[in-house]
């Protein structure tokens, strides 16, 4: 299991830890610096929350709650060598639990009983979400309109002024690129 732990990977991990620690200390002294922590962790928190709720609106409300709570409490965050993201996900787990407690039982709650999402899954999804930003503009537009806005091929074609065939091609290329890039960083 430890075979792939090279000196380089250890040094990289140490550097990441130092960078994150300095970001946290900066945010504790000056709340304006919280922006860096937000940018680095938004996709992680969202990826965690969205896997535990049923609707996009719920995921957005809870993600907003998590960052508002984190901003309010950043002064009391104590560095113990645990990644900042783990602290955020603990806030997120509590927020999700509170959310389900407030949700009337008669509506059923299938998501709550799903296996707990693992750290690796959260990282994988967060990385995938961030990779969408690296796509070419027209591929990115198709991904957002198709998967976030859930628009049909014809609607997307109309909006970006391309043929339906071209939109389908862009969809295929976007997914291929994402698959290749997540593969590069994931295994």
């Amino acid at each position: 299991m430890n075979e792939d732990i090279s000196l380089e990977s250890v040094l990289k991990a140490n550097q990441r830890e130092t960078d994150e620690r300095s970001l946290i200390e900066a945010a504790q002294k000056d709340p304006a610096r919280f922006a860096d922590l937000y940018e680095n962790n938004f996709e992680r928190v969202y990826a965690f929350v969205v896997s535990r709720v049923r609707h996009r609106e719920e995921a957005e409300d809870l993600t907003a709650d998590v960052f508002h709570q984190a901003l309010a409490s950043i002064g009391r965050f104590e560095w113990r060598g645990v990644p900042f993201a783990a602290w955020l996900l603990r806030i997120a787990a509590n927020a999700v639990a509170d959310h389900w407690q407030r949700t009337p039982r008669e509506h059923g709650n299938p998501v709550q009983n799903e296996p707990y999402v693992s750290w690796e899954e959260v990282e994988y999804r967060a990385r995938l979400f961030r990779l969408v930003d690296t796509l070419l503009e027209d591929q990115r537009a198709v991904v957002i309109k198709r998967f976030v806005e859930q628009k049909s091929i014809s609607e997307v074609a109309r909006e970006i002024q391309k043929t339906e065939g071209a939109v389908k091609q862009l969809q295929l290329r976007a997914l291929r690129n994402l698959r290749a890039r997540i593969g590069e960083t994931h295994g």
Binding site: P31, F34, F42, E60, A64, L71, A72, F129, R146, L172
Partner: protein, 321 residues
């Protein structure tokens, strides 16, 4: 599958998946399966509009926190009057014009109304409310020490206040008058006739209560907030004509309700060293919980308690940001 192109096969599978999360996906070329698994994850892709909106919200919240921090370093005081009124904006303007107040900051509070802080001389006052706010107004009585009672009285009237009493010398050693501001707060504008114009131990602006059974109110303040009695003068009928109690670095004044001076349920922002302990103590003294201690994004941990005399106390401890 026949002649269906990869592009169409993938799109049909995506269509089925988007139409219903658990939909049966039509059979596809095995090479497309990894792409479909990426597509399944992308159904949860966060909206960029949401990410930007939340970024902006957090930025605004940070601005409030920073402004709040700044104002806290300007004037620190244990007891701050919190004037909650419908005419919050007008009241801020009135205090500026009539009393030379300096606005420290203004924001929109959690209940949708204005939250502002102003400084008058050495004293901080919070002003909350406004048109969008749906709370119960709590205009307040204040003992306001100034260098020139007559001049400030005149300025207050010109700024829209109404007179309660014209300036006159009182046997207890003050030249004093009274006005009601446009939001309903009563200001007893005074200067001490001996020594400095602000009597020792008081601020420019001090809370003044007219409780029914002031001695019980003094007792409550002592048990709930550890106040210390500074002075007490009895009226001929045995009630409290005038009393002062100290909480932290601030003094609260009061006199038994009489004539036109009847109880005005008031809102107070009180800093203590330990909000959780103060909250428990206030409840044990007979207070009723309005909200339990909780961290607030503006850097305070805050609880709220209503006392048996109708006043609401926001008890706070400043927490490090």
């Amino acid at each position: 599958m026949g002649k269906r192109s990869l592009v169409d096969q993938l799109n049909q599978a995506v269509e089925a998946m988007l139409a219903r999360r658990e939909a049966v996906v039509p059979p596809i070329d095995p090479n497309l399966e990894p792409l479909l698994s990426i597509a399944a994850e992308l159904r949860n892709l966060p909206s960029q509009k949401f990410k930007q909106r939340l970024r902006k919200e957090l930025q605004e919240r940070r601005n409030v926190m920073q402004t709040s921090e700044k104002s806290k370093t300007e004037v620190l005081q244990s007891v701050t009057p919190y004037l909650c009124v419908n005419e919050a904006g007008e009241l801020i303007d009135f205090t500026k014009v009539a009393f030379g107040a300096k606005e420290l900051f203004r924001t929109i509070g959690s209940a949708g109304g204005i939250h502002a802080e102003v400084r008058i001389g050495d004293s901080k006052i919070m002003i909350g409310g406004g048109g969008a706010w749906r709370g119960t107004p709590t205009p307040t009585a204040l003992h306001f020490f100034v260098e020139d009672t007559d001049a400030i009285y005149q300025r207050a009237l010109e700024a829209g206040a109404t007179s309660i009493a014209e300036p006159s010398d009182q046997p207890y050693g003050e030249r004093v008058c009274g006005v009601t501001d446009p939001a309903g707060n009563q200001w007893y504008i005074a200067r001490s006739l001996e020594g400095p114009y602000v009597p020792e131990g008081l601020r420019n602006v001090n809370l003044y209560f007219h409780p029914i059974n002031a001695s019980q109110f003094i007792d409550f303040l002592s048990r709930a907030f550890g106040s210390v009695e500074v002075a007490r003068y009895a009226a001929p009928d045995g009630t409290v004509a005038h009393a002062k109690v100290r909480i932290g670095d601030s003094v609260i004044e009061m006199g038994e309700a009489h004539g036109p001076y009847q109880p005005m349920p008031t809102t107070i922002y009180l800093y203590t060293d330990n909000v959780d302990a103060s909250y428990v103590r206030a409840l044990q003294a007979g207070g009723v919980s309005v909200s339990e201690p909780a961290d607030q994004p503006y850097g305070d941990r805050v609880a709220a308690v209503s006392d048996p005399f109708g006043n609401t106390w926001y008890i706070a401890t400043h927490i490090k940001l």
